[in-house]
Symmetry: C2
């Protein structure tokens, strides 16, 4: 456990800032476009204690309201959430357990959810440049991961591994649902994310920008652990649970690697395979 | 995807084998002891398609019955399950959807569950010797992992990484519930598992048997990736979600390591941390 970070003071809505309400949405084509793309990514309903605390702590988007079940037992993380909401002038609404359960969309929201502005969507071009801390691009492309628990788990691990951007296919409903927000445990507040019409096209763009693309494929003869990775820009590509990478995506990767298994089962969960791949890049960059 | 393994023919109940029914249980003190310890580990209700197929394929314990919802769409894995059940003379019972849902204990049993003999529990002493394939002990100790989804995920990953034995604390209800069987995806059929009265005591035993014990601790200054691991016997120790290792367990480990994080979140999911640790051992043994 690292020391608790200081809250990102002053990044919430400032009292003097102009209201960005319903009246202004869509008044110019550019704003309209940004708004509609943001809605495509989602993430407005954040559930779970860690996810809500991180939403308030990061302050990278506006939180409209925090909703708490009225029967919660005291816990330090709840005190944190109340303090952070106060600091950021975010309204806290206490509701009865039945009302809370009717609002929650996940199985175990832990009595706390928040309603926030949609996640900001990035352009693919932005993700190909070094991030705010000067790290070379370390991207994660998800080719059809459909289970929201797996998607959230992958985002959490990716953030911890230092991934600088995540690329999702727009048409495969790669939507950040409440379940994704819960299992991502706050990672979505820090990760830059882009959606693209198709991953195959994105891979062509990445190759043209000198990003080395590495696909995980259980049939590949090269081991993940034999990759020779330097400090170059790299993109990891993960396929869907079961089906793996689609044919075109597989063909467009610069290299395909597999994870050597030593047991009798023949596959890892996609979120575990993704974790091993992400940390293999991290480990070699240390 | 590796080639599908041939079913373990002849490992199911043979027609000529003596019946091992109610009448024989507990007729000697030794059998009684084995039976009660087996009940402690559980695992009798197996849910999910992969878990049920692996149960039948492995043939390491008796399957009493396979229960299928009557409204399943055709799928190759269901054909596999039917073929394997026929080969092993296991009864398949088709039931209506409502009846099926009332029998299932997991959220998404995929329309298939099986009832089987309890998992065989091993003695700690057995796990300290090389396994059937001559691999030196590569053990995983779980100190209070309570979420059944995490426990199952860890077992699946451990099997894939070549872990030779798993050690669980008996008093912390380390029971293999239907949810564990589902997320383990068949790993429980292959992994040797032992329960112990306390993990601290087990660590003392392991040290005395020259097994090197490595605890994962987020506060440790040594990186997991800087471990110097040879082909010696090793045991990884993982703590509970949130709380981490208990104090006594932490003190008894030979070395504590942490996973270096490069993002802003301060922790990984325990099943991801465990996966990275297991495959770090595997990678260095290749």
């Amino acid at each position: 456990m690292t020391a608790r970070r200081a809250p990102a003071r002053g990044r919430g809505p400032r009292p003097g800032a102009p209201a960005r309400g319903r009246g202004q949405r869509g008044t110019t084509p550019i704003r309209h476009d940004v708004a509609s793309r943001a809605r495509a990514l989602g993430g407005e309903q954040v559930e779970g204690r860690h996810a809500v605390r991180e939403l308030l702590l990061a302050g990278t988007r506006r939180t409209r309201e925090v909703i708490m079940a009225s029967d919660l037992d005291p816990a330090p993380i709840i005190d944190d959430i109340i303090d952070l909401a106060d600091e950021n002038k975010v309204r806290i609404r206490e509701v009865g357990r039945n009302k809370f359960e009717s609002m929650a969309r996940t199985d175990a929201p832990q009595g706390i959810l928040a309603l926030a502005a949609p996640l900001r969507e990035h352009e693919l071009d932005e993700l190909v440049t070094p991030d705010a801390r000067g790290n070379p691009p370390f991207l994660l492309l998800l080719d059809g991961v459909t289970d929201p628990g797996n998607l959230g788990a992958l985002l959490r691990t990716a953030e911890c591994a230092g991934v600088t951007g995540v690329i999702l296919p727009r048409h495969r409903a790669a939507h950040v649902t409440p379940t994704v927000t819960k299992s991502a445990a706050g990672a979505i507040e820090h990760l830059r994310m882009a959606t693209v019409p198709g991953l195959a096209g994105a891979l062509t763009t990445l190759s043209a920008r000198n990003v080395w693309t590495v696909g995980l494929d259980t049939a590949a003869s090269t081991s993940l652990f034999d990759l020779t990775l330097a400090d170059s820009a790299v993109a990891l590509v993960l396929g869907a649970e079961g089906a793996g990478l689609s044919k075109l995506v597989r063909q467009r990767c610069d290299v395909l690697v597999s994870i050597p298994l030593r047991g009798r089962l023949n596959s890892l969960n996609v979120s575990v395979a993704g974790a091993l791949a992400c940390f293999e890049v991290t480990r070699r960059r240390v």
